[in-house]
Symmetry: C2
Subunit: 217 residues, 2 copies
Amino acid sequence: MRPAITAFESSPDQGRGLARDMRVRWALEEVGQAYDVRLVSFSAMKEPAHRRLHPFGQIPTYEEGDLALFESGAIILHIAEHHVGLLPDDANARMRAIAWMFAALNTVEPPIVEREQVSYLERDKTWYEARLPLLDNRVRNRLDDLSIRLGDGEWLDNGFSAGDLMMVMVLRRLEGKGILEDYPNLSTYMARGQARPAYKRAFDDQLAVFASKPTGA
Amino acid sequence: MRPAITAFESSPDQGRGLARDMRVRWALEEVGQAYDVRLVSFSAMKEPAHRRLHPFGQIPTYEEGDLALFESGAIILHIAEHHVGLLPDDANARMRAIAWMFAALNTVEPPIVEREQVSYLERDKTWYEARLPLLDNRVRNRLDDLSIRLGDGEWLDNGFSAGDLMMVMVLRRLEGKGILEDYPNLSTYMARGQARPAYKRAFDDQLAVFASKPTGA
């Protein structure tokens, strides 16, 4: 059964691969599962047909036979449970890898998204510049801890896992912000993820969508 | 093997049960698993001994034999996988319940935590009052969608699951903010969760910790 995912019809980031379909594409490439992509416009995402798949009107979604899923974390966990390559065999190591998925999404990503969102939503406000150091500090608090835990390790918990996939994608949202550069081991870790052949295939595939629609939405 | 979790030695919320150990306690009560609780102080949480269990120096943690976990989402998923009562038997329904766990933690909770955090961190700033409506709107955007999806359903996807447990706990963080009251079906949903005997046992147990230490930290 060949699964189908949804992705943005027009890239908010000009094909930089920061949208969340990239996470799912990368997971599917890691396990060697072919998939279809259905592109949705920003307006179609908010229509009832798409909301039946995704209650919050976002991408990605995942359809496979009778199963319809939303939330990239759940989709990647589903893929990881049905294929070899994203979670360790050992039961305890498997749960630790899943803990890193949750840590990426619920502990590390929120302050990063917050910093990103205010740059869209509050750039014209009088307080925008004054708040940036506060937001940066909240990101740095998380990176300080993450950097200490990673140390000189290659991945967060021995071999590469879905936890690393998610964490690398979360860290990518900091590109160009001048923060990650202060954490050499995290920068190297991110680059290590991006150097994986599966990452590159996924990245090229999402870029190809936008290369054919260069004007954006 | 009786698991052990960690919780705050002194309650930041005076025993209102908003700390994340409450989520894990509730899950353990739902499945009828006895557990031990180790209380940690705010300073001990940041020490190396605790950081070995939790890289970000938070609670809860979960220890069971050789397994040590952090992140309430991962801990509850682990409990759900090893006991009956928190995830449906049907494979697709099981994954949808897990998707609601991720949705609670990564889509609904971040704007709620953000609104809460600024009330601690930025209350003395000149922009504090002016930003509150922006923060409320971001919370309301999520609740609008969640309320539509829930409709007149009892739980998010047929029977009660770990996804509901997590969503109810996330919604509880809005208590007293004057927002949830505008969503009668979500208010009823939250109350339905809190009326479960397992919830009540968990709540009473976390309250008992603080009833014996009324002065806070």
